[in-house]
Amino acid sequence: MFYIKIMIFLMMPQYIFALPVLKGKQSLDNIRFISQDGKFTYYQRRSGKLQISTNYSNKEVLDGKKYTQYFIHSSPARKRILIEKDEAFYQEMGIHKVNKIFTADYGQSEAKFVANATSPRLHRDDSYISLFYPREKNIGVRKAGDSKDSVLIKLRNPLNPSFSPVVLMPTPNDVLYTDINKDGNQAFLMYSILENKMQTVYKASYPGSKLEGCIVGEDLIVGEFAQVENSSGSKIIKIPLFNNESYQKMNIIYQNQASDLGNMLCEHNKVFFIKTLSYNKKLNLKETEVASIDLGKNNLSIISDLEYVTQLISMDGMVLAPLRGKYYIVHGKKNVVDDGLKRDKNK
């Protein structure tokens, strides 16, 4: 039987406002990654090149067709980065589209091809990579140096061709991922590589709710958020991944009758997510702000005053809230980030 302990039900949030804005010495539109200490920046040119600049040098990382777009994925381990190269950003749009994925050492310029896939993610101290192959609906997992996936997991998902799973690795032998069943319920499933076995860790209470997740210590933090307006509301749950038979023990750490946007991430023992403060049903318009839950103190804080913030991203220890071309620093180094590069006059 499930053992659900409600820790935070209705919490009085603390409010913190006026967030600093991320700045660089060149246009943020070209920047693809800035280290928190400002020592290096990956940026791209319209010519199709991806480059890295430091205080003293400027090196090419990858070259591509004109107008190639690059996206750089990192992790708190800071050992490696994953580069997504999209050579047909403006000319090809579709559910089966894959990009070229490369890997490079953190702060370095030498990049190695990994695969044609989407949703690349680093795991376990940057020693594993997971990828998603949308046409085949397969999740691939491999060691960071390998040229092939050692694990392939096929999703069921009969309902949403645009679905991209959340993939996590609590141990080198276990892959946690999300899938959708025929009724529209998302679930976190645990695939044991050694035993070739699957186990359900958590199933969403309502069809049409999305699941998000991250691993903090030995716990899985699951966010359940409604994708369309219904009566399901939102909740964030902590599930111990060890010494928890059939994952029956779980603590609800946050619950809200309103449908929060979610887009949750975990940094520094905190859970950050987009919370809905008010809802205009007539326009489907939500007033949304960045909220965080301190997992140690179990207190909820509203961090932003941006009104319509919708997304959160993590970059080298910083949590950023993008809105209309600006990146607000929600968490991390608060002073203006200096990418250490003088204005490039050739651009």
């Binding site: 000319q91 749009m93 061709p161 307006e229 997304q311």
Partner: protein, 621 residues
């Protein structure tokens, strides 16, 4: 100016005063109740005729019972008991469990006593109103099925007969019990939610809730969707005959769609997945429409077989959005099977402005591909469509390629069978009167006589999209090799740079249909565009993560998943706006409501990454 309200009344307002009134009444009644102990058995009652309900008790019922049900209490002296038995009449604590009564005792004393519901019904109601016993039995779980068989709820033919029908229900003792059934059905989602939210350790409450849910579901199983809709309309509008009739004559979008050939595509694919069958009769469609009207959640995943972004909006929101939409959409398309967002969006716009390029096809994706290819052939000599079947022409010593769609469209030179015939006539001597037949891999049985001779294109339809397909060509039982598939569909939907902008689909559409295109930069222009050009549509490309943040997450800086879309309506509320939008991944028949704030952010982010700093929102008219 003379105020009609006293200053204090005006300050506190009607609601506040009414609330106070209820509180005072409740206080008085509770104080009165304290003087009596429940459990009196009426042993000292002299004559049943002398017994009356206490006035404050009646007052309390009137205050706490939803006003629409009170009209059912006025049929005769027994009707209030039906109402209580059906659970529609309420007291201060919800369902009425005890009755405060006044009567004359055998010693001729006027006495007030509190008696249980059971005693009151057995000793008083069943004697005074024997029909109440009958009705209660008719509608209990054992008998409700046979009772409902003998009842018929007829849909009124016109507004006049509708009013009469409503009046008839108001004077019928059974109506209270019918509303009890409606209440049971409506309680299901609430009970399911309560069960989800109740901790497992609270097993007593959980058991009760589960039992209530079981009963409610049992009642529901005896009602068909039409009856559920009818009863819901009746019981919600017992005191509002006009609204009751509006429910029939000002139909929901779904009911209208089920009756209109033109609107049928809006409902058909949803009903195909709900009813789990492809061929739907008109009566099944009507019953499905009833379901869509009364159960909003069934729309979330309906029509998924077309490969659409799910969950869709619920049926209620969808019905409202569809009432305002102007995009021509009386056909079906299947985004994931086409698997190219720009092809889908372009085809939708082409079909809006002209039916010339839309041809019946063997599959949904073939129809969309053919619309796109035929339009591009006329507008741009087919440059955007680089899907071809190629072979080596040994006579000319060169590679020859023919553009193709994976499927057959009526009279289309791009149909796969036509293209294969063309190639085989050149390479294998296929005669002019021989044709190639496309068959699904499951239907191809080489042992059957019909497949012994001739040309067959055996297609694995599950794997086919608009740009790639697994197939085999069989000619006289032998597999044909040497025909290669080339597929590299990359084209500009919006202008990308100055030198090639005239070849973008946006510009080709403007030119071919002689349309005016203007950028929409703000909500005033959005509003004005739809007011001046009601048949116009707005289209563009924006970042999916900002447009639909519930579905697409950003993970890294400057991330953007470009997604084309069409806007064909808007809503306004206190100076804020939302647009009615279909992204290319949405069902053609399931527009979403997206706030302008999200659309603006999504456009701004795409503009920041665009080589021409292009604003991706234009009205076409």
């Amino acid at each position: 100016m003379l105020s009609l309200l006293s200053p204090s009344f005006a300050q506190t307002g009607f609601y506040s005063n009414f609330k106070t009134l209820i509180e005072i009444q409740d206080d008085n009644f509770q104080k009165k109740l304290k003087n009596f102990k429940s459990g009196s058995n009426l042993n000292d009652l002299a004559d049943i005729k002398s017994l009356d309900l206490d006035e404050d008790f009646i007052g309390s019922i009137i205050f706490h019972t939803p006003s629409r049900y009170m009209s059912l209490a006025n049929i005769d002296s027994c009707s209030l008991y039906d109402l209580i038995l059906a659970g529609l009449a309420k007291g201060p604590n919800g369902e009425i469990q005890n009755f405060l009564v006044r009567y004359r005792t055998k010693g001729e004393i006027l006495k007030t006593a509190l008696i249980s519901k059971k005693t009151f019904y057995e000793e008083v109601v069943y004697k005074r109103c024997p029909n109440v016993v009958k009705f209660q039995k008719y509608f209990d779980l054992k008998n409700v099925k046979s009772t409902l068989k003998s009842l018929s709820l007829s849909f009124p033919k016109n507004e006049r007969t509708c009013q009469a029908e409503h009046e008839k229900h108001l004077n019928d003792h059974k109506t209270a019990y019918l509303c009890f059934l409606s209440d049971q059905v409506k309680s299901i989602p609430r009970l399911e939610k309560e069960i989800q939210l109740t901790p497992k350790k609270n097993y007593k409450k959980l058991t009760t809730l589960k039992r209530e849910l079981r009963v409610a579901k049992k009642y529901k199983s005896h009602l068909n969707p039409e009856a559920i809709g009818y009863l819901d309309n009746l019981c919600q509008n017992l005191d509002r005959p006009k609204l009751f009739c509006d429910g029939f004559f000002k139909q929901s979008f779904w009911k209208k769609a089920a009756e209109s050939k033109n609107l049928e595509p809006f409902i058909k694919s949803s009903c195909q997945s709900i009813l789990k069958k492809m061929n739907i009769t008109p009566s099944e469609l009507k019953s499905c429409a009833q379901k869509l009207s009364s159960q909003p959640q069934v729309c979330l995943f309906s029509g998924f077989q077309d490969g659409i972004l799910t969950p869709k909006p619920n049926c209620e929101t969808l019905g409202i959005n569809l009432k305002q939409t102007t995009l021509r959409a009386n056909y079906n398309d299947c985004p994931a099977r086409v698997a190219n967002d720009a092809v889908i969006n372009t085809a939708r716009i082409i079909n809006h402005f002209s039916s010339e390029f839309s041809k019946t096809a063997s599959s949904c994706q073939a129809q969309t591909s053919n619309t796109f290819v035929e339009f591009n052939q006329v507008a741009n000599e087919g440059r955007a469509w680089n899907v071809k079947l190629c072979y080596d022409d040994k006579l000319k010593a060169t590679e020859v390629c023919h553009p193709v769609i994976f499927g057959d469209a009526k009279d289309s030179q791009f149909s796969m069978s036509k293209v294969v015939e063309k190639i085989l006539s050149r390479t294998k001597g296929l005669s002019k009167n021989q044709v190639c037949r496309t068959v699904g891999s499951n239907d191809y049985k080489p042992s059957l006589l019909e497949f012994k001779n001739g040309c067959f294109i055996v297609v694995d339809s599950q794997s086919c999209t608009s740009t790639s397909c697994d197939y085999k060509i069989i000619f006289d039982q032998l597999e044909v090799d040497g025909i290669r598939q080339v597929s590299d569909v990359k084209f500009d939907y919006l202008p990308r740079d100055f030198s090639t902008q005239s070849f973008s689909q946006a510009k080709l559409i403007e030119k071919e249909f002689k349309l005016t295109s203007k950028p929409i930069l703000n909500t005033s222009f959005l509003k004005r565009s739809f007011e001046i050009h009601p048949e116009g549509i707005i289209h563009g490309v924006a970042c999916a993560e900002d447009l639909l943040p519930e579905f697409f997450s950003k993970k890294v800086i400057n991330q953007c998943l470009p997604i084309p879309f069409i806007v064909d309506g808007f809503k306004e509320d206190k100076g804020n706006y939302a647009v009615i939008i279909r992204t290319a991944r949405d069902s053609l028949h399931a527009p979403r409501l997206v706030p302008w704030a999200h659309l603006f952010s999504a456009l701004k982010d795409y503009q920041r990454l665009h080589p021409l700093d292009y604003w991706g929102l234009h009205v076409l008219y």
